[in-house]
Symmetry: C2
Subunit: 248 residues, 2 copies
DNA sequence: TTTATTTGTGTTATCCTTACACAAAGGTAA
DNA sequence: TTACCTTTGTGTAAGGATAACACAAATAAA
């Protein structure tokens, strides 16, 4: 079962030492690599995901994540940013690697390894070219079947987001620059799937000290308008609270 | 300003549909893939990492993580378990995928993508074959330089462990089956790099309800012996506490 | 038998979380 | 213009978790 049988590898000896790294690497099996981006947006008080129709005929009735293969000498983070840029035109989005999926049968054309990225963007900031591949926002809740193993990937990224949004203020990436506290709470409630107490929610966010009061107010609401805030990313970065306590 | 999401079905054209999935995949660039395991152990009140001497001549003075390339049609989790089994003889260890590293220059022999796995094992359970490649436990704190980008990988896995151990009782995988509360606290203190209050630590762990009192006591300690406990993994799994509250 | 070391235990003060109600602002409809 | 509806903005009290802290009992070693 073992590939290398190198007797005695002690520092003084040369037995089994490999001189030609290129040759070594050339002997490895090679696998096609893709990145798949799970692009979340928030609109109409719902968490949305950006999907396209699959290229493949066998998946022609299914929706698919935005992906592409990694080019030669392209780091995967770069590849993910490239996909985002190509599809949405945006390059200032939040992006993070989530997990690598490697089931040998996950792609019908043979083994393809994919690295899933999660990205968050503000829907209002961009008009999609929806004609190409029928690029559309879908309500996360409504998505049932997808091409490949993309439903599994989506679900893992959603779970990742739920967790991450409680530890870091990622949610702000999904909101417009200026937002009301109600919008912020709606976002949290939509992502976590729970209701929260309005007063305690406010208290919590004000006690962290990175909401900037813009002095402006909501417009076009059929009730008392709320104040608009901005998120102070810098202040958050410098003040990150050290956390203690065991959580299980 | 609202982007509409589409309901379930696909409408529209067939342009650009690909029929031959195999041909599509064959056209992708291919990359050699490895898994690298960061194997943590706990001994002598220190967090240890299992390392070998690199195969490559250019790294002959450096230590390296335990890795191997992924075989054809082998899922990466499998590959990681295989590496563990081959190197330590164990197959009942804790193992989790942490992150994928893809910098094009990370391997001197050309592009190699690696998926890092973190694994935790109880040092006492296994006698290593230390001759082969000078397999040895190293104190995490003492490790400075490593082959490839393995120091970066190690540091990321350590950060991952620090975080994970606060959210899930992974630490128990590093301890012998029966352990004293002092040993448990030493483990936490070593991994987190902090001192904890002994009484509060006890209170915390007793209040979670999954320490089984074995009725046995420590032996061969030059002071009052402590009780020995076992961890009830099943009880933990069924009682996982639902967590609330925003943490940043 | 004395000494040194470590175990095992409880209380209080502080902080954080939760639950909960009412007046003021603005829009809408009569 | 007024009455009504909806949503904003605010404080407090109870309960639970965390953090700080000291002393008696058990054992081995001297």
């Amino acid at each position: 079962m073992k590939n290398k049988s190198v007797p005695g590898g002690l520092s003084g000896q040369n037995a089994g030492v490999i001189k030609d790294a290129q040759k070594l690497v050339a002997s490895y099996p090679r696998v096609p690599i893709t990145v798949d981006c799970v692009i979340f947006g928030f609109d109409d008080n719902e968490l949305k995901v950006l999907l396209i129709r699959s290229d493949l005929e066998m998946f022609k009735d299914k929706w698919s994540l935005l992906g592409d293969f990694a080019m030669d000498n392209e780091e995967l983070d770069e590849a993910a940013y490239r996909v985002l840029k190509e599809r949405t035109g945006m390059d200032d989005v939040y992006l993070e690697q989530v997990k690598t999926f490697s089931h040998p049968m996950r792609h019908p054309g043979g083994r393809v390894l994919t690295v899933a990225y999660c990205s968050l963007l503000n829907i209002e900031h961009h008009q999609l070219k929806t004609i190409e591949h029928e690029l559309h926002w879908h309500s996360r809740q409504g998505i049932k079947e997808m091409a490949f193993d993309h439903k599994v990937i989506l679900d893992e990224c959603y779970a990742w987001l739920q967790k991450r949004i409680m530890e870091h203020p990622l949610g702000f990436n999904l909101l417009p620059e200026k937002f009301s506290l109600r919008e912020l709470q709606n976002l949290y409630e939509a992502i976590l799937g729970i209701k929260m107490d309005r007063r305690n929610f406010r208290k919590k966010f004000f006690s962290m000290d990175f909401l900037i009061d813009t002095g402006e107010f909501e417009d076009d609401v059929p009730h008392r308008p709320g104040k608009l805030y901005q998120f102070n990313f810098q202040k958050y970065e410098s003040n990150k609270r050290r956390w203690t306590g065991i959580d299980f």
